[in-house]
Amino acid sequence: MKHMKITNIASLLGGDIVSGKTQQENHISFGFAADLLSDVLTLDVEGVLFITGLCTLQTIRTAEVAEIDCIVIARGKKVSPAMVELANRNGIVVIETECSVYKASGILYEAGLKPIY
């Protein structure tokens, strides 16, 4: 499978879509997991899903700058209202899930979501 729909990703992870609902029918091409925002800023492909345990406003701001379409926040962390607002303003879909970064990555990898590297 080449492209995965964001709503399908959310259900695979048993997650909730908390922002960017108007973009949730879009498709994702690649998965990337990091807790290092500097790392995300070096990516130069489109259609990226970013899985992270880092749940701060900078996570969203960095996704905006790096043109990330969708963020998965792992380990049951809850995004703040300010994060939701910034994500909505930039059309970024944020999914909250109880899965760890490892488990979320494993599920999506197995389902056919390609890595960037």
């Binding site: 290092l36 925002l37 500097s38 800023l41 900078q58 701001r61 905006e64 700058v65 043109e67």
Partner: protein, 137 residues
């Protein structure tokens, strides 16, 4: 066209707001999307560096014409002692607080070089740092 934005001192919650505004301006000017992305990434790295490493905040000046985008990000110090060393991938003096925010991997300056057609860094101990990023349209 010239634009000026303030960069707040040590405020990670606001880090990136100036870069984001420049991005919106470039979008409105219909600049090529690849050029917008690389310019925004480069100036965001510079802006985060001011928040992470400088004291007293800084300024971001953008000067845009039909041929090029020049963005200058300047702060009041403490400055960079050894610029070639700072440019080495992995070199970082980031504090634990900066690291806990997801930064401090020593990748910002190398990434700026990658995303800028021209990169100038003017700095010294106890001086401010000025980073000038030029991208041709």
């Amino acid at each position: 066209m010239k634009f000026e934005f303030d960069i707040a001192d040590g405020d990670f919650a606001k880090a990136g707001t100036s870069s984001s505004q420049v991005k919106h301006i470039l979008k409105q000017l219909n600049v090529d999307t690849k050029i917008i992305k690389k310019t925004t990434v480069a100036i965001y790295e510079a802006e985060v560096n001011v928040v992470a490493h400088a004291v007293g905040g800084g300024k971001l000046l953008a000067d845009i014409n039909l041929e090029r985008i020049v963005v200058e990000v300047a702060d009041l110090g403490p400055g960079i002692a050894d610029i070639p060393q700072a440019m080495v991938e992995g070199f970082s003096t980031a504090s634990p607080e900066v690291i806990s925010m997801g930064f401090g991997a020593g990748m910002g300056l190398p990434n700026m070089r990658k995303n800028a057609d021209k990169l100038e860094i003017i700095s010294g101990v106890d001086e401010g740092t000025r980073v000038v990023i030029t991208n041709y349209i």
